[in-house]
Symmetry: C2
Subunit: 334 residues, 2 copies
């Protein structure tokens, strides 16, 4: 069992818990023989779901946790007081080395706080950024940071560029990934105080491939592999991506239903269009890792179904095969 990748799945996190997390665990186990999954949460509910499926029983263990952290709760307080919650128990297993990674679709705030407080940051890391992959014309880019720690300093953003580079190189497998700084103009002197200061620091940072400012207009085209920004703007970019993609797809569908001619056309194009739009579907990319921690913490959408949760689990395999915390710590010492 020691060669297995051990992933904790918060079975009580997300809008469709425990049904979808349990289904995701079963699917991930059946697809990947090197996986071992711990399901944390209410034992009876989890077992009831598990009865529906066939799965390798020697690679799954239910770890009972009596409490659940709800989305509305104040994150810091919830982490501190709900010691017997599915999330806190799971995070502790990562901290204690009993598991390599944890995946949760639960409260973003609680996952972010819990990751930093319980799993803890790699020494030297000032802030742990939440860094999802966002779809682009060329494939995808890493958007770092989209977390809850706003009002960042330029030194934080420089670390995000370094951590993002290590992630894209060693987990995603992109050689010499480009780093762009989100700004409101391409020129060096553009932007707010934070962007200007960060630009100068990034220019002098070794070990990253800084290509300068990136305007938001060029992010969907894939202007940079790593898109560096502070969490407020990152959050706006991530959520506008989701909202606008949803609205445009809705508009296209409305257009298709507007005339008889377009309805017939719509039936003909459906398979091709589905394939194309799939590449812009965030669930394909699984969850967002909280980087810079001593273990791996992955946050998936609260609305995630089993496919997305499963992809998040599979993501952990590649991640844990590499010693990312070691690499980050090594680079920051330089």
């Amino acid at each position: 069992m020691s060669e297995k990748i051990r992933v904790v799945l918060d079975a009580m996190g997300g809008d469709f818990a425990p049904a979808e997390p349990v289904k995701a665990a079963v699917e991930a186990l059946n697809e990947n023989t090197e996986l071992f999954i711990y399901l944390t949460g209410k034992e009876d509910q989890i077992n009831q779901e598990l009865q529906k499926y066939t799965y390798p029983k020697d690679r799954l263990e239910v770890v009972h946790a009596s409490e659940i952290i709800e989305t509305g709760e104040a994150p810091a307080k919830a982490i501190q007081t709900k010691k017997d919650s599915s999330l806190v128990k799971g995070l502790k297993m990562v901290r204690e080395g009993k598991a390599d990674a944890i995946v949760s679709a639960g409260s973003t705030g609680a996952v972010l706080v819990g990751g930093q407080v319980i799993v803890r940051k790699v020494p030297g890391v000032e802030r742990a950024p939440l860094a999802p992959l966002i779809p682009t014309e060329k494939g995808f880019s890493l958007l770092i940071d989209c977390g809850a720690n706003v009002d960042a300093r330029s030194s934080h953003l420089v670390q995000f560029a370094i951590i993002g580079t290590i992630y894209m190189k060693h987990v995603i497998g992109i050689e010499n990934p480009t780093v762009g700084l989100v700004n409101i103009g391409a020129e060096e002197e553009k932007g707010n105080a934070l962007a200007k200061e960060t630009y100068q620091l990034l220019k002098e940072t070794e070990g990253i491939n800084f290509i300068g400012n990136v305007e938001a207009r060029d992010i969907p085209a894939g202007a940079a592999d790593i898109v560096v920004t502070e969490a407020f703007t990152g959050n706006v970019i991530l959520k506008l991506y989701e909202g606008l993609a949803g609205t445009l797809i809705k508009k296209v569908k409305e257009g298709l239903m507007s005339t008889l001619r377009s309805k017939i056309g719509g039936i003909l194009i459906k398979p091709a269009l589905k394939n194309t739009l799939k590449s812009f579907d965030s669930s394909t990319y699984g969850g967002a890792p909280l980087l810079g921690l001593r273990g791996l913490v992955v946050k998936t959408h609260g609305s995630a179904k089993s496919v997305e949760i499963k992809n998040s689990i599979i993501q952990c395999i590649k991640f844990t095969e590499q010693d990312l915390p070691g690499m980050i710590s090594e680079h920051l010492k330089k």
Copy 2:
């Protein structure tokens, strides 16, 4: 002539000047009998373009200007030194009351600086915000501010909410328009220092219909009529809107060309789809007004063709029929 709406059009501004601006002027004049247009720029070039068209010669005047402000130039310096440029000459005509409004597709920076320096702000206005209408599922929202003045204070954002409310009420004709503050969460205590401070001030601001925080995800759905944010985030939202819409439409087209079946379907759906996507085309809405000034300054895209420029000119009619500067000044005195 005194009852006419007098609009200056910077004939040398934008990527397709003077051809597209001149064409736009002719189209606007032919469609609106209450319009009078001044075209500022190089007389010989403008006249050469004008020869191509039939138009009411008594409602158009060419005002010669020998210089052009280029996009790459430092805005403040360009405004100061190029006194005989098409933009500066036009702005001065607005300042001196010879014209009611100016439309330019030239350098955004120069238009923003020139508007504030030459046309000048309404007394009491701290910053003049650039406020485009962005398409939503319900129609459109006013995104205020998208300008170049970053690092805003909360008092600026409160003024944006007030100015935006007056604009949406009296120019666009929406009764009791809703005001939302861009933030990374719906709850009152969410966000960075600026958002938290602004939230508290907006709650207590009279004469606006503040509905709380708006997450970027909900902007395309039309969550608020007036979307208040500081210029850095506003710029990111505006440009991501453009970039993402472009990328998604490209993806849809790629999908349609991928199989024979989808190609046939594509031909059938083309007219319906074109209609739907038109509502998400920024050129339909014309330009972005620079609000809070003593006259009207409208900035259109550098890449604007005649339709967009024409729509920007027509926008000015409604605007100048109302005494917006007076209303803003009145409200800020309260």
